[in-house]
């Protein structure tokens, strides 16, 4: 892939100091997002997937510490002052959050919240901004957009509010949208509508999307590439079809096997990933997944495996992969 990368994250580490000790939420993560691409970041709660992008957006909690870099084109976002950062976030990079209720200010009309973005970032006057905001509400298929413009967030359903959030994130034609669990709080049928909408926006405007989620179904629907995250590290990275057809890391395999299927389901007992997610305060020595891994060997408790290529565009971080490849050939 020779396309220009919009976002380049290098050796990112995020740690939080807590009364119980230091928590390393993100531990040496590298990521490139190219123009128009949709990259999925999959992981369970506490895996650090959201913290990567909170730090990219400069939204890290005050007890957080950053290492490494995140560049938007060639500007290191971590080195920018607040003013320069504000020219980029909300304008050229925008974010969609999980809970559309808490992300909209409850006592400000939807219209005012939308036009504010345009007057601030694009210097539009009120009338211009209003026209643009209403056309954007229309675009995300909100019926009677002009009426919704005058409403307060609580007057809309969850799905409508998420549409408003999406409309807001599109206002300045961003080059990159970061969507953090955009459909997790929604019902199945509404989720399907919102995912269709995101797909449509992508093909219309060539906006790059980073989709942070715990749901492999969402990834299967939208993404081109996937990174699987466990305990602060990427453990596998591949093209979407490749990942689902040849999951290589034992964690990815375990996740996929343990999901009950709607289509082609089997009646057998679900294979499980044993054990509990790791405690970030006391990460195991060696590979973080080794205590839950059915195939772990002595080597896995000694050192942490690095991501390495197992095919041209497929990487995994597991000591066993070299051996297993031989078995299957």
């Amino acid at each position: 892939m020779s396309m220009e990368s919009i976002l380049t994250i290098k050796d990112l580490a995020v740690s939080f100091s807590t009364p119980d000790g230091e928590i390393r939420a993100v531990n040496g993560v590298n990521l490139e997002v190219g123009a128009g691409e949709c990259v999925g970041i999959v992981g369970e709660s506490g895996s650090g997937k959201s913290q990567i992008f909170m730090s990219v957006m400069g939204l890290l909690a005050s007890n957080g510490k950053l290492e490494g870099s995140a560049s938007f084109y060639d500007q290191n976002l971590f080195a920018l002052d607040r003013k320069s950062l504000n020219r980029i976030r909300g304008n050229r990079i925008s974010m969609i959050f999980q809970d559309p209720m808490t992300c909209l200010t409850p006592h400000v009309k939807i219209g005012t919240q939308m036009t504010e973005v345009l007057t601030y970032h694009q210097g539009m006057d009120q009338q211009e901004a209003k026209t643009k905001a209403i056309s954007m509400l229309d675009r995300v298929r909100i019926p009677e957009a002009a009426k919704r413009f005058e409403m307060y967030p609580h007057e809309c359903s969850g799905g409508m509010r998420q549409r408003v959030m999406i409309a807001m994130s599109l206002l300045c034609d961003p080059e990159l949208i970061i969507a953090d669990e955009p459909t997790t709080a929604l019902d199945v049928t509404v989720q399907a509508d919102i995912l269709d909408l995101i797909n449509e926006i992508r093909s219309d405007s060539n906006t790059a999307i980073v989709l942070v989620t715990h749901d492999l179904g969402v990834v299967a629907k939208l993404c081109d590439r996937v990174k699987v995250m466990y305990a602060g590290r990427f453990v596998e990275s591949a093209g979407v079809e490749d990942l689902f057809e040849n999951p290589s890391h034992p964690y990815t395999q375990g996740l996929l096997n343990s999901m009950p299927r709607l289509v082609n389901s089997v009646d057998e007992v679900l294979p499980i990933v044993p054990g509990q997610p790791p405690n970030l305060l006391h990460l195991p020595n060696g590979c973080s997944f080794s205590p839950r891994c059915l195939q772990a060997t002595e080597a896995c408790n000694q050192a942490s495996p690095m991501l390495s290529n197992i095919a041209e565009t497929h990487e995994a971080a597991c000591f066993l992969l070299g051996e297993r490849e031989n078995e299957y050939v």
């Binding site: 399907a192 715990h214 179904g217 969402v218 299967a220 996929l256 679900l270």
Partner: protein, 329 residues
């Protein structure tokens, strides 16, 4: 005697909502559950699916008599629970237990795990000796996959999956005949969901438990249930055995739900056809006349607004409430 343990007949739960306006008006009934009837057999799992606000949790609580039903019968082993006074009903809870969605919130943070699990025994068998009670607690802890040495720990020391195991142990310690499971895995990580689902299935097999399994996740419901009930705005749209429901859904709402569910397989997911629903869920305070689903139904006809469709039983005790049920292929 037949195999039926629970018969629910024409169950209604209406919440009175104060009317707006200056002049005093009678409260408006919010029909959370409106005329629901079904049976559950010994050792059977009945799945209940539907989107938020369809009344699935209210249904579970009304069966447990945690919410007083407005009308209808809940017949447990030949006895109508709605007619029992509080004292007699309390004793029935030895046989009927419930586990909740939020595993941590449903456990008292100031009690140790041992005390939490022993509480039902203390309450129902006050004369039981301490040592005997302790043995029973430890036995059930092992059954649900908790280490007995954790008995003196507090809920906050456990992960979500383990807390749900504690909740299951608390319900199981009385050796109940039926458990109402209200979204028991929704709050858990993907890799933990399968563990809990398998545990419930094992317990069911060992003790011949009947389960009412409430969930919004079709894949999980499909995996655990023998029969499935689809709810929309407090009414049953369709009841069917698992196989027929997924291979031959008859109600348009069931079809829409199934088609909206995500499949963790990119090739399949991207070629699946979706049945889109119009608009939003109507307000439960003013549900549509006739069939409650008609405002969003892709195949509704005039008759649907005039007449409430009856739940018509077809073969194998499957049933569908749709005027166009016969035409649906």
């Amino acid at each position: 005697m037949s195999n039926v343990v629970l018969e629910v007949r024409d169950l209604k739960v209406h919440f009175p909502i104060p009317a707006d306006g200056f002049l005093p008006k009678p409260p408006i009934p919010l029909k959370a559950v409106d005329g629901v009837s079904f049976d559950i057999n010994r050792g059977e799992t009945l799945g209940v699916v539907g989107e938020s606000g369809c009344g699935k949790s209210t249904l579970g609580r009304a069966i447990m008599q945690l919410i007083k039903p407005t009308d209808g019968k809940v017949v447990w082993m030949g006895e109508d629970l709605t007619s029992l006074d509080k004292k007699v009903m309390r004793l029935k809870r030895k046989e009927l237990q419930i586990i909740f969605q939020d595993p941590l919130a449903s456990l008292n943070p100031r009690m140790t795990v041992g005390d939490i699990i022993a509480e039902p025994l203390k309450s129902f068998y006050p004369k039981m000796k301490g040592a005997e009670r302790m043995a029973a607690v430890q036995e059930i802890m092992v059954k649900v996959g908790l280490l007995p040495q954790m008995i003196n720990r507090y809920p906050h020391e456990f992960s979500g999956g383990q807390c749900q195991r504690i909740g299951i142990a608390r319900a199981m310690v009385l050796k109940p005949k039926m458990i109402v499971c209200d979204e028991p895995v929704s709050a858990l990580d993907v890799s933990i969901q399968a563990q809990i689902v398998n545990l419930l299935k094992d317990l069911q097999e060992e003790f011949g438990l009947s389960l009412l399994f409430i969930s919004h996740d079709l894949s999980i419901v499909k995996h655990v249930s023998h029969r499935i009930l689809v709810l929309y705005l407090g009414k049953i749209m369709e009841v069917a055995d698992r196989k027929s429901l997924f291979s031959n859904p008859r109600h348009p709402y069931t079809k829409a739900l199934i088609s909206a569910a995500l499949v963790p397989d990119p090739k399949l997911q991207r070629t699946r056809e979706r049945l889109t629903l119009k608009g939003d869920l109507p307000s439960p305070l003013s549900p549509p006349s006739g069939c409650v689903f008609r405002t969003r139904c892709p195949i509704s006809v005039d008759k649907c607004s005039e007449e409430i469709p009856k739940l018509i039983v077809t073969k194998n005790k499957n049933a569908v409430a749709c005027h166009k049920g016969d035409d649906i292929k």
